[in-house]
């Protein structure tokens, strides 16, 4: 061995290694006998020192490969013997019928078909699981010990060659020679038994979960070679489990749909979901949980939820109408599981809201057409009542759905969007929504909020704002609101300036500054007028201390106020000379201060306090300006004389409609009959004669004589048309303005983009239709604000 260097003989060769090679078979004999003893649970009689050293020497002498393979052969052989002797006999007389019923029958019919004798076989199944588990435990223990003995091989040989360590190799052997034994499929038996147990539990029995859990843990410990993270559980058992679950839940879905009403269906579905969740968590694998949950969801929810929601008897409509919040919660939870968008639930809710909204709209319109005559209300009062009813019902509906949303659906954003869309849709279908809302506010500001605290008032206004948000044509609302506000301000009807301002602030917060500038302007006008009247009074005292007639004037900026107030032609009036004189004095006073301004008088909005001497006593009458003018005519008449309608008209040149209204309130309304009309009829005709009713009596000294028109009202049809026209005109201007603004900024723009931008800009005021925009673009082309591009007809250029 050492051919050269005699002196090296001196060197003592390493002591333990000079014995030359070791006899592998002898050493292996020692080790294999020891392994057998370990399986017989006699390990405590074995010397670790000896066994370790034997294995160590084999590895050191380069026999690691043989040792590794011998180990595998030995363990494989042993495991096959155990299967043959311990497991196979147990299985053959307990699980055969079970196998055919569960595997053959798809895992569904087994429980129904299993007769009493099968119950014993189930017991046998559990026994089999326990036996397999016991073998598994023994095996693990032995592998632990063997890997202790072969520790040096693990370190040196297995790690270097990247072979499975002894323990892992031992587990793989168990997998291949026990679970997947090609002669007796222990695994298949185990799977069938577990599936059968699951089926039992699904049917309401109690099963031995700890045994199953232990078996599942075993299956999970057995990893698959070369597939990371895959185990016998996930490759072999789980697919079977999922397949049988699909079968079960397909049938279950049909059964439940057949037997249960919606409420029951929901409860049972949730119960199943929970059961499967707990099953997966408690004795199957956590990794199976999402999969099984998905199966249940697909079969029980996805397939049937639409029919549950739409069920005529106990569906969504029923739940909503009857405040079945628990059911609604379940619907929501289940829908959310299968569809994050919750499409079915949302569309069903929208449909229901639009339907209910439609009914509310219909009711309101009915109410308008057929007012409740018995209470003697006029058509206009009826309209107010209809508006009130509509607003209250819409708000009621809204509150109901808000509660459903918050209490059963966690305030889900998507559902909320759908609710908003649905409300917006039916509210805007009601073409008088703006008017109704404005009327509602008007009435509250005039009467409804009287005596309420600020907080209460604010709550009412907030509700109005809620509704306001849904209205797309906000400019329409603005028009109505302006008219109503004007009348409140001029008539001094508003209960409180603070509340009025609160309302305007709220509107401003909703739609912005531009929307409310004119409304605020109206308030400003009122204030300025008040101040000016102070000055004027002082002025009068200086110049004309003798004057007996007091006059109060509200000077209104025409652009801020509703257009109808400022049209000259319709409000002509010839005043009595004494009034005329004061009027001129004021005009002079005003023009002196604000040169260049033109005053236009609007007698239809004014009123007057006059003192009238009747036979019995004097009364103070509060009448409209027109009525005052009419009554002054009778000052010059002797008792018993009368004036014809034509005469009155000629003397005052009050427009016919106003004259008729005022004469009605003076001569027809029974309680305030200052004039006597001949003939006595309700309607005024040009041939009627009027005389002063000297014998008028009343218990009050001060009497307010309301003009028919001043009673709260919705519009008459013609008024409505007028309002619509005004709104349309305003919209044209706004559209024009928007087009110019956009073109000025962008210079060149394509048609479609322009339309989109205009729509965007205007949408806070109203919802413009494309036809209108197109028409206005044409108008702008005509007026040469913009021109078509020479190259592309679809492109516009801005003309400076």
């Amino acid at each position: 061995m050492m051919s050269s260097g005699k002196s090296r003989v001196k060197m003592r060769p390493p002591r333990n290694r000079d014995s030359g090679d070791v006899n592998f078979d002898d050493s292996w004999g020692v080790l294999s006998t020891a392994m057998q003893e370990m399986y017989r649970k006699n390990a405590s009689r074995l010397s670790y020192e000896e066994l370790y050293r034997t294995a160590y020497t084999l590895v050191l002498k380069k026999h690691a490969e043989r040792l590794y393979n011998s180990f595998k052969t030995f363990v494989a052989q042993h495991l096959r013997e155990i299967v043959g002797s311990e497991l196979a006999p147990l299985a053959s007389n307990t699980t055969n019928s079970l196998l055919t019923s569960t595997i053959g029958g798809g895992g569904l019919t087994s429980t129904i078909a299993v007769p009493l004798a099968a119950a014993d076989k189930r017991e046998g199944g559990i026994r089999f699981l326990k036996a397999a588990k016991a073998q598994w435990d023994d095996h693990c223990l032995c592998m632990r010990m063997i890997s202790d003995i072969l520790m040096y091989m693990d370190r040196v040989y297995c790690k270097e060659l990247q072979l499975p360590l002894i323990y892992d190799a031992g587990l793989a052997l168990f997998r291949d020679h026990v679970v997947r034994n090609n002669e007796f499929q222990v695994g298949e038996h185990i799977y069938a038994i577990i599936l059968d147990q699951i089926q039992l539990e699904r049917d309401g029995d109690i099963v031995d979960t700890s045994t199953i859990k232990a078996t599942v843990l075993m299956l999970e410990s057995l990893t698959e070679d070369k597939i990371d993270g895959e185990t016998v559980y996930s490759r072999s058992f789980e697919p079977k489990y999922l397949r049988s679950s699909v079968d079960f839940y397909t049938a279950e879905a049909e059964k439940l749909a057949r037997e249960c009403d919606s409420s029951q269906y929901l409860i049972k579905t949730e119960k199943r979901l929970q059961e499967e969740y707990f099953r997966a968590m408690s004795y199957l694998s956590v990794t199976s949980e999402p999969k099984i949950t998905k199966i249940v969801e697909e079969n029980l929810i996805t397939k049937n939820i639409v029919s549950v929601i739409k069920s005529d008897t106990y569906g969504l409509t029923f739940m909503i109408s009857n405040d079945r919040f628990d059911d609604l919660k379940r619907v929501y939870r289940l829908c959310k599981r299968v569809d994050p968008e919750k499409t079915d639930l949302r569309s069903a809710m929208m449909a229901r809201i639009i339907q209910q909204g439609g009914e509310i709209n219909q009711d309101a319109l009915e109410c308008l057409k057929h007012p409740d005559k018995s209470k003697g209300v006029t058509a206009q009062n009826a309209a107010t009542a209809a508006a009130f009813k509509w607003v209250e019902e819409v708000l009621g509906l809204k509150e109901k759905y808000d509660r459903i949303l918050n209490e059963t659906m966690d305030g889900d954003n998507q559902v909320q969007t759908s609710l908003t869309n649905a409300f917006s849709s039916f509210i805007n279908k009601m073409n008088r929504c703006s008017e109704f809302l404005s009327l509602f506010i008007d009435d509250n500001l005039k009467k409804g909020l009287k005596g309420k605290t600020e907080d209460e008032a604010e709550a009412v206004l907030d509700r109005a704002i809620t509704l306001f948000r849904y209205i797309t044509d906000k400019d329409m609302f603005e028009t109505y609101y302006k008219t109503h506000l004007a009348k409140r301000l001029l008539g001094g009807r508003s209960i409180s300036d603070d509340v009025e301002r609160m309302m305007i602030t709220k509107l401003k917060m909703e739609v912005g500054f531009s929307f409310t500038t004119k409304l605020e302007g109206m308030f400003k006008d009122m204030k300025v007028s008040n101040d000016m009247m102070q000055d004027y009074k002082a002025h009068v005292q200086n110049t004309d201390p003798e004057r007996t007639i007091e006059m109060s004037v509200s000077v209104l900026t025409s652009t801020n106020w509703p257009v109808s107030l400022s049209t000259i032609e319709s409000h002509t009036c010839v005043y009595p000379p004494e009034i005329e004189r004061i009027k001129r004095s004021f005009e002079k006073f005003y023009v002196d201060r604000h040169s260049g301004r033109v005053l236009t008088w609007n007698p239809n909005m004014g009123n007057a306090d006059i003192r009238v001497t009747f036979r019995k006593r004097k009364h103070e009458l509060n009448v409209s300006t027109y009525a005052m003018v009419i009554l002054m005519l009778f000052n010059d008449l002797a008792d018993g004389e009368s004036l014809r309608y034509e005469e009155i008209k000629a003397a005052t040149s009050i427009p016919d409609n106003e004259l008729i209204r005022n004469l009605q309130s003076l001569a027809v309304v029974p309680k305030t009959r200052i004039l006597i009309k001949q003939p006595m009829s309700k309607d005024i005709s040009p041939t009627d004669r009027f005389s002063f009713n000297l014998g008028f009596e009343s218990q009050y000294i001060r009497i307010k004589i309301p003009t028919v028109a001043y009673i709260n009202k919705t519009e008459t049809d013609s008024e409505r048309k007028g309002t619509m026209d005004k709104v349309d005109e305003l919209r044209r201007y706004q559209t024009d303005a928007a087009i110019v603004r956009i073109m000025k900024a962008r210079k060149t723009l394509e048609h479609n983009i322009l339309v989109a931008e205009v729509t965007g800009q205007l949408s806070s005021h109203f919802h413009p239709d494309a036809a209108l925009i197109k028409k206005r673009i044409d108008a702008m082309l005509e007026r040469e604000y913009i021109e078509r591009s020479a190259e592309n007809r679809q492109v516009y250029h801005y003309l400076a």
Partner: protein
């Protein structure tokens, strides 16, 4: 002195000599030299070991070797010396520490290694400041500055950590005596009555660490499993004493407890603990605290060294082999006062006697082999938990586990397991290596291979030069082929490299030997069994060392296929290069004969 002072002031005024560590320089302004000098005097009393303080002649020699390696930048040699346990913070006769030398000579790797193995560079000390000031490169300087001393590996740490871990280790249970504090807590002024406690302790540790315990355990507590502490003993103070004995790092919350512990320490005659307690109180730098802690650990180590020498190795007994084998069970007796709980048996060299060492499972389990043995369900695991009882003379019967090694090897192993420190004579280093491999003790393996390859001691007669190899050949402790095979078998790269270098140094001699041809073939097969690349590790290593031997460093000059230095039109080949080429030819000739391709 003045000159340097002025220079430093200038530096403070904006001249930044080390831009990479600018911020740190600002944070910690450099001190003037006279301040440093004055600090040096202050520190004089507490300074680290000088080379003269080192205990043995061998330690001194090794320290000088370490310093030399630090100058030269020989990381391998530095590693060797540190593995031997040389104090890396000692200073030589010129006040140099190894760290200063490495830093001054610009060996960044060595500096890093030293820092990681416990070398201290503290700005607040004279040595530390000098080290920084002398750093050759900015990299070294910033390395020195940023190194967090608390991350450093302390050479004694693994030993202390094991002792400390015994206090809490449950599996396997190694405690053999329980001290139980009285339920009646001592009346203490202003303190909460202490909870009664039980301390699961080890007789041998108490014996090793304290004469008080040694005397009492051998005396009045000799056969007791449970010792009741007197009611005047505060269990919290006793707890601290126990922690100190088990070399746990101690912190004490209150002054009162400190005083109380000091009282107990006086009573139990533990002067070192009293000193430690005083140090704990003193306001001191982190470095000083660390030094105290190291001192404590060194004392514990020294205690264990004494213990393993007197109570384990000298307490060995010998039995005739036939007699030993005749006994039915594997139990033998020890004197009743012995603290051992297991006997380790080896056969003596002649094979006639069996030597028994009384040892402790608590220490043996530092080897994973014994850990597994005692926790497994084999015979050793089973009977190590049962009490062997006593024989008719009142001696204790203990289980025996065999170790297949020579006496000397077994004693080396025991010393190592008990103390972490061991000197391995080169002559048995190969045996120790195999034994450590069997026992899965990696640190001992590397110590053994260092000892095996480090044979510069001229006096050591066990190292033998092979006269046929050449007069100047390095003396060896073992056959070079055996060393290489041992390197392969136990996966010690150091041996492989050593052998390759040895072959390279004496190539002409070896290349004609059949044994050499055999081992080249063996190396080729090792590779083949691993993967398909057709390099032969041994040949590659030898070529590498040949290049080193002849100072061939420029790869550009080498022929990419043969590896030889080429002669070009603009380049004359040197004499060394010619020799190098000639030796490469020798190798190629051998490979051709062996029909190998490399």
């Amino acid at each position: 002195m003045d000159e340097e002072f002025i220079e430093r002031v200038d530096m403070e005024d904006g001249f930044v000599p080390f831009p990479q560590v600018e911020i740190i320089v600002e944070d910690l302004p450099l001190e003037s030299k006279h301040k440093l000098i004055s600090r040096l005097w202050r520190e004089e009393g507490t300074r680290a070991n000088t080379v003269d303080d080192l205990p043995s002649q061998q330690d001194k020699a090794r320290f000088h070797e370490l310093c030399e390696a630090c100058r030269a930048g020989d990381l391998e040699q530095v590693d060797n010396m540190v593995s031997f346990g040389v104090d890396v913070n000692a200073i030589d006769e010129f006040d140099y520490t190894p760290l200063i030398l490495a830093s001054l000579c610009g060996h960044e790797e060595v500096v890093k290694y030293l820092l990681e193995h416990g070398a201290i560079c503290d700005r607040d000390t004279f040595q530390g400041e000098r080290c920084l000031y002398g750093a050759l490169t900015d990299n070294i300087r910033s390395l020195l500055l940023k190194f967090d001393i608390s991350k450093a590996v302390d050479a004694i740490q693994p030993f202390a950590a094991h002792i400390a871990s015994l206090l809490s280790k449950i599996e396997p249970s190694t405690s053999d005596v329980i001290f139980s504090s009285s339920t009646k807590s001592p009346s203490s002024v202003g303190s909460v009555p202490a909870e009664p406690r039980q301390f699961h302790l080890h007789r041998f540790i108490l014996t090793a660490r304290s004469t008080y315990f040694r005397d009492n355990l051998a005396g009045r507590w000799r056969s007791k499993k449970l010792v009741k502490l007197s009611s005047s003993m505060d269990p919290r103070a006793f707890d601290i004493v126990v922690k100190y004995l088990y070399s746990v790092d101690i912190t004490i919350g209150s002054m009162e407890l400190n005083d109380r512990t000091a009282q107990v320490a006086r009573k139990l005659d533990l002067p070192d603990l009293i000193a430690t307690l005083e140090n704990l109180n003193a306001e001191e730098s982190f470095r000083r605290k660390r030094e105290h802690r190291q001192d404590d650990m060194r004392r514990a180590q020294a205690d264990f060294e004494r213990f393993v020498q007197n109570d384990v190795i000298r307490a060995r007994t010998e039995v005739r082999k036939e007699e030993f084998l005749a006994g039915k069970d594997r139990f033998c007796t020890v004197p009743v006062e012995s603290t051992a709980d297991i006997l380790l048996s080896v056969e003596d060299d002649e094979g006639e006697m069996v030597v028994l060492y009384p040892t402790h499972r608590a220490m043996l389990i530092r080897s994973e082999y014994y850990m597994t043995m005692f926790t497994s369900s084999f015979a050793e695991g089973a009977y190590s938990v049962c009490d062997g009882g006593e024989d008719q003379d009142g001696n204790r019967r203990l289980p025996v586990v065999a170790l297949s090694a020579s006496r000397q090897v077994a004693e080396i192993v025991l010393r190592y397991l008990y103390t972490d420190r061991v000197d391995i004579p080169g002559a048995i280093a190969l045996d120790v290596l195999y034994c450590a491999d069997l026992l899965l003790v990696d640190k001992l393996k590397s110590l053994a291979s260092v000892a095996l390859t480090h044979s510069s001691d001229e006096d050591d007669e066990t190292a033998i030069s092979d006269p046929t190899v050449g007069k100047h050949a390095t003396p060896l402790y073992a056959n070079i082929y055996d060393m290489l095979r041992a390197g392969w078998a136990t996966r010690m790269d150091r041996l492989e490299r050593f052998a390759a270098k040895y072959f390279a140094d004496n190539l002409a001699h070896f290349v004609v030997q059949d044994d050499f041809a055999d081992i080249v073939l063996e190396s080729a097969q090792r590779i083949r069994s691993r993967d398909e690349t057709d390099t032969i590790e041994l040949i590659d290593d030898i070529r590498f060392y040949l290049a080193q031997k002849f100072g061939i460093i420029f790869e550009d000059d080498m022929d990419p296929v043969t590896g030889k230095v080429q002669e070009g039109p603009w380049r004359k080949i040197t004499n060394y290069e010619r020799q190098y080429n000639a030796e490469l030819d020798l190798i190629d000739g051998l490979l051709e004969r062996l029909d190998l391709d490399a």
